[in-house]
Symmetry: C2
Subunit: 210 residues, 2 copies
DNA sequence: CCCGGGTGTTGTCGGCGTCTACATTGAAGT
DNA sequence: ACTTCAATGTAGACGCCGACAACACCCGGG
């Protein structure tokens, strides 16, 4: 076996992860439509049937990718809020939204997978759980914000849906050339802050609207 | 020949429209991933090469479908606002959002096409124009609302982006089983109204927040 | 009347996802 | 150390797909 020679061992050793990584790259470069198991296998120097050992179907690969995307989004969003570290729930809620938006803009391939229609059509339990865990972050902070006296007239589930949907919709639109042209030459972080200010106001806090 | 027999004339007569209609049906039933030109041709009783006369590629068919989706969304949204017919710009803005959301929920196949990643990747000019025309409706009412004294501190383009993104994001999330479970057994129209109230408040107008 | 361009057909090509039979490997149990 | 066996990778086949080219049909303008 020539201990040092790892040129092309019969077994790849980490094929499953390599497939997922390469898949994310391809989606980022050419879109989900251009993804093919055979092309991934070629790129990784394995035979066209090898991926079947790790993913029963292409749909299962996509679902796995989407699951990891939700987990990554959750980590990035949480980290952004914790780094900010305010004790005010509504400030944290704002930071969550900005964190998610930044992650979405910096990880277009994974963002695309989050709610891709063809991905969610074949959703399995782990995908649903990852999505749920992401949503729970928002929900918790929403409830805290309401306990703080804000948005008291609105059902917390409706509010969670809203707070969840806004950054998602913004990120989706920002990925089109049209919306980008309208947002013009504004700095990305400024734009994100301005947009989230409309959802959860945190500037000049203490005068208008509570 | 056989003048009266129109069972299967050599020329279909309206193949292009028939393809678009059938494509929308298939997308609604099984998703864009399951769409194939050959299956459409089979369903319509024409040969597998016939669609190529009307759409140079599958991507062109999808782009055409997306263009029609933006136009349909524009018509439905405008109609909803006009039917409401208030002279207050912010009330009309709210009605626009609710109209779009209702359309999106009632036309899932077309909504899916609006910003489908693989569709927009091959966007042509007519698709961009249709998208632009939709956005302009929102932009006009946003400007009127600002002239009315509301949201005066925010750039109108940012505000348009926000107002555009919210119903889109909500509609996208509402198409997942998870978000639906959270919204629970709430009546759809009520849910839409509650959500849009968070974007553009119109209830108990005149007391809090302007 | 004819003829030319638009429309539909048929055949072909390479690529794809998936399945099956076979090869290779490393590790667990004796 | 030897055997066994499940996991992993390979090679081939099948049917479907998108795209293209060559041919067939049909209608309307000269």
């Amino acid at each position: 076996m020539a201990a040092g020679n790892k040129a092309r061992p019969y077994h790849h050793g980490d094929l499953r992860d390599a497939i997922l990584t390469r898949a994310a790259e391809i989606i980022g470069d050419k879109g989900i439509e251009a993804l093919s198991l055979r092309a991934i296998a070629r790129d990784l120097g394995v035979s066209h049937g090898a991926p079947n050992r790790h993913f029963r179907s292409k749909a299962e690969l996509l679902a796995t990718l989407a699951t990891e995307a939700w987990q990554a989004a959750r980590r990035a969003t949480l980290a952004a809020a914790e780094q900010h570290g305010s004790e005010n729930p509504h400030v944290r809620l704002n930071a969550l939204g900005r964190g998610f938006l930044r992650w979405a803009m910096n990880n277009p391939a994974l963002f695309t997978a989050l709610l891709h229609p063809d991905v969610n059509r074949y959703a399995d339990d782990s995908l649903r759980i990852a999505q749920l865990e992401f949503e729970q972050i928002i929900h918790e902070v929403v409830v805290e914000t309401q306990a703080d006296g804000r948005y008291s007239g609105t059902d917390s589930n409706v509010l969670t849906l809203y707070t969840n949907a806004v950054p998602y919709g913004i990120a989706a639109l920002l990925r089109t050339p049209l919306a980008l042209s309208r947002s013009g030459k504004i700095n990305q972080d400024e734009l994100i802050a301005d947009l989230m200010e409309l959802v959860v106001p945190i500037r000049h806090s203490g005068n208008e609207r509570q």
